[in-house]
């Protein structure tokens, strides 16, 4: 029971989260149809695409917060629906785009709620719960803010507190839905650096992002979506081309080498040059 490792994924068996024949719809509106996707183990996968391409919808299905109307998502070859809900939550964490911070909650209490899948009616706050929360807050740099109310924090601090909550869950797989939205630019990079570090420490991450250059810089595996289908996937350096960007986003551009990270960098063509 308490065999939860302190650094979850290092040396752990690669998790295999796969989606096959996925059809995703909100009521009658079909967003994704017939999609197959396997989350590559040990990678930092970034999903990108224009608005309403179904990237967040796909992430929700992978995190089982959206029930597919056809097809299925499996973990280790078994459909998610065959697991106990709490058992999945010990292996697969997800931070949605706009979670709601309860009134009057402190950072410590918020992070503590991430321990739910490891708790029971009688074991509501074990020593390992305490330790996991401390590690999660330390790792995201919110330990100093533990007793502050979440509502008082800046946008960047708040986002790190939420990521700490997802980390406290101690899952080898972590899904983040547009974690940089609503943040100013410095805090965006702070969150992305945090994601990169979590990946280096051995977790498998899937992150939905809006910004192509950020995606190309931080992804070790890039997935490009358009109109509910995956158009291209692979290492950013291999798949990001001017033709792809024009085709998917309708943006004529030039691809240059990012002088800092040596990843592809999209530079839109000046209006006169179009």
């Amino acid at each position: 029971m308490s065999a939860a490792p302190s650094a979850p994924a290092i040396g752990a068996a690669p998790s295999s989260l796969t989606a096959t024949g996925l059809r995703l719809a909100y009521d009658d509106r079909v967003i994704v149809d017939g999609l197959d996707f396997a989350v590559p183990a040990g990678e930092l996968t970034v999903i990108i695409g224009p608005n309403a391409c179904g990237k967040s919808t796909l992430l929700k299905a992978l995190a089982r917060t959206l029930e597919p109307s056809a097809g299925q998502v499996s973990l280790d070859g078994k459909p998610l629906s065959s697991y106990r809900s709490k058992d999945i939550a010990k292996r697969l964490g997800m931070l949605p785009q706009s979670p709601i911070a309860p009134e009057a909650i402190t950072v410590r209490d918020l992070v503590g709620r991430g321990r739910f899948p490891h708790q029971g009616v009688f074991r509501q706050w074990s020593v390992s719960d305490e330790a996991a929360c401390d590690r999660a807050m330390e790792s995201t740099g919110v330990a100093e803010l533990a007793d502050r109310q979440v509502a008082e924090l800046s946008g960047g601090q708040r986002q790190r507190a939420w990521i700490a909550m997802a980390l406290a869950q101690e899952t080898e797989l972590l899904l983040l839905d547009e974690p940089t939205t609503f943040l100013d630019i410095a805090h965006q990079y702070e969150v992305l650096e945090l994601a990169a570090r979590l990946h280096r420490e051995g977790r498998t991450l899937v992150v939905v992002l809006h910004d192509l250059n950020q995606a190309a810089r931080y992804a070790t595996h890039l997935v490009v979506m358009k109109e509910g289908a995956i158009v291209a996937q692979g290492a950013p350096g291999e798949i990001v081309t001017a033709q792809l960007v024009d085709e998917v986003f309708g943006l004529p551009c030039q691809i240059i080498d990012d002088p800092q990270s040596h990843t592809p960098m999209v530079v839109p063509l000046a209006a006169v040059a179009r």
Binding site: K90, A104, E130
Partner: protein
């Protein structure tokens, strides 16, 4: 702003120091560990003392009051006579019913407000009280003799909840729809009550009016037993659901990905809240605003997140006991429906709440 390859993970403003206080935990070996909050324990203790004090005042005040010195003997070995009559008939059952009903309403309100993420959420908002009134009107006056009035109220409340369930198209899993359909069901129930009022004579209408504003007058041990059975069965269930309910508070996506099963949790929580609400209605008729105010005040006292189920129960009991004590000692006499008083005070509170929400820009 240059985008450097590596940058520190901590923003400069995060370096503010604060005292790292951990939550105290009760531990027994490794199998039992329950965290608690000191402030909540203190508030709960004060409220419990309040319940005790109000109970003593209820039994001892006034010309019919049992003198404090005689009270222990009267409870331990009741002898037939005036004291026994006051304890067993006049005030005892009324007091015990008030505590149970107040607690039930407090918990029902706490559950509803958390599940709908709305401080105005309460069983009344989705038509429970109005349905109960319609049931009482129907079986008390329109079709007398088929069911006793409290049973009629129970049927009315359950029919109203059934209509809300059907009307949302999603059962009790969508709070927004629940409130909208509840308003419609309430309106229909009120219309029905008014129709009945026009069909009966004035004296019958007055009796009905007293019942449907909720009263603790003339309660017997049957009423007290009924509400306490509901409290003892349903409140532990509410406490068990409480941890999952805390997760639902953070949004369905978060709850689901933590294994909290938001849809199922919400349905169960609403069912428990309706169970407590209908039990309260059956015991006393629809007493308004206790369910609305108790959890709000309890939350503010505790300054903690979460539904605050136990504190809401205690505070609900305190509100109803205090209101009923006022009614019993008022010059208008003990027959005045206590629901009128809670509605009056609650109306003022509701106005304050709306004003505050309006200033915050949330409505």
């Amino acid at each position: 702003m240059s985008a450097e390859g590596s940058r520190p993970g901590i923003a400069p403003d995060a370096a503010l120091s604060s005292t790292a206080t951990r939550r105290p935990v009760v531990r027994v070996g490794s199998w039992l560990s329950l965290p608690y909050r000191r402030r909540s324990v203190v508030v709960g203790g004060i409220l419990a003392v309040g319940v005790l004090l109000l109970a003593l005042l209820t039994l001892t005040l006034g010309t019919l009051g049992i003198p404090l010195t005689e009270l222990p003997a009267a409870i331990a070995s009741p002898k037939p006579g005036r004291t026994e009559f006051v304890l067993n008939v006049l005030r005892g059952p009324r007091l015990v019913t008030a505590i149970g009903t107040g607690a039930a309403l407090g918990v029902a309100g706490a559950l509803f407000q958390t599940v709908t993420r709305n401080p105005l959420g309460s069983p009344d908002v989705i038509g429970l009280g109005a349905g109960a009134s319609a049931g009482a009107a129907c079986f008390g006056l329109l079709l007398p003799g088929i069911l006793p009035v409290p049973a009629g109220a129970l049927v009315g409340a359950l029919v109203a909840m059934g209509l809300v369930w059907l009307g949302t198209g999603r059962g009790f899993s969508s709070p927004g729809r629940m409130i909208l359909v509840g308003i419609a069901v309430s309106a229909m129930a009120v219309a029905f009550v008014q129709y009945v009022m026009t069909r009966v004579n004035q004296q019958e209408a007055t009796t009905l009016a007293a019942y449907i504003s909720g009263t603790l007058a003339d309660r017997d041990w049957g009423d007290a037993t009924e509400i306490w059975v509901a409290v003892i069965v349903l409140v532990p269930f509410a406490l068990l659901l409480g941890r999952r309910l805390d997760l639902v508070e953070m949004g369905d996506d978060v709850a689901d990905s933590l294994g909290g099963r938001s849809s199922l949790t919400r349905t169960l929580v609403v069912l428990v809240a309706i169970g407590l609400g209908t039990a309260a209605v059956a015991a006393t008729g629809p007493i308004s605003f206790v369910a609305l105010t108790a959890p709000q005040v309890a939350r503010r006292l505790a300054k903690a997140p979460g539904a605050g189920i136990l504190l809401s129960a205690l505070f609900g009991a305190v509100i109803l006991m205090a209101a009923d004590l006022l009614v019993q000692q008022s010059p208008f006499g003990a027959q005045l429906p206590v629901g009128l008083l809670t509605a009056m005070v609650g109306g003022v509170y509701l106005g304050y709440l709306l004003l505050r929400e309006w200033k915050k820009g949330t409505i």
